[in-house]
Symmetry: C2
Subunit: 159 residues, 2 copies
Amino acid sequence: MSSVIDPTPPYVGYSLRVVWQWVWELNMAAATRAGYDDVNPAHVSLFRYPGLDGYRLTDIAQRMQITKQSVHQLLGHLESLGYLIRETDPGNRRARLVRLTPKGRGLQEVIRRQALDAERRILDILGEDRGEQFKKSLALLVDEITADGEVGAHDAADR
Amino acid sequence: MSSVIDPTPPYVGYSLRVVWQWVWELNMAAATRAGYDDVNPAHVSLFRYPGLDGYRLTDIAQRMQITKQSVHQLLGHLESLGYLIRETDPGNRRARLVRLTPKGRGLQEVIRRQALDAERRILDILGEDRGEQFKKSLALLVDEITADGEVGAHDAADR
DNA sequence: GACTATTGGTCAGGTTACCTGACCAAACAG
DNA sequence: CTGTTTGGTCAGGTAACCTGACCAATAGTC
């Protein structure tokens, strides 16, 4: 009794998840290996592109699609762990800007290096031509998706 | 002061995440729209390829990379919501097999259809040739990654 | 057969990343 | 001056995860 829908897996969604998860696990592993073992996945995810330095809490909350309160808590952890400080924005005295400490910049650097390394590994697997084509396709998809505002544009209001 | 690492974003990891998240949000939206609004993302994720029907708790835990206890709890929710039942495996009386109810099969079907729809939309964006190439590349990456056991092969022991 | 080890699953209890709601202070609009 | 909006914080709750202890059925060994 085969279903009406014959799946012909693996689905693209499935594959995307597997590959992304692989990159993400390499990312966490790189952080831990480099000695940043006092942070958990939620913390590290805040460091992902485009990072934390110079951003306000609200910007980060919007980017991550979580509440300001959640970001507040996570930034609090990172601050008490010595990864960053929050200083008042000179141009807007209600706002506070995240500033990475040397420790924070160290972790940021590890994460960026790892991102490039993952990219390298993908190109190695696919080969140069196919790899570049793959990157272009991905970029095109990202353009199209973010243009439509289909991701991250639910209730820009507050949540 | 440009960093040692000039990022040339967007990174592949970032793009993968954006695209995957887009697919995933379409997935959740499809479930909700179809009336399955008593399940949350954690529940729906259990239904993702290759699904629940016929599997044992332990299989699912391993696939999802979470503990048996967590799966136990989530399956408990889904059972009390009427999505599935757990019946003793005739061939192994300690094991219990997940069996989807009609309601559960309904949700499963919605998710499968949505997966195909997402695939269609990606092909529409990239065009037929480029899209097929993209799928092939993804499949190749998945093969390579899962072959090395780099994902989901941490401690096959318990977890 | 009896004896241990392994496997599949459950119960009890803790942690924490999220959430909602209420609130304050600075900035802005009239 | 008087609301309203914006950036952020405090208090408290929810639930998806975790660890540890445990039981029942199976498999391996003598």
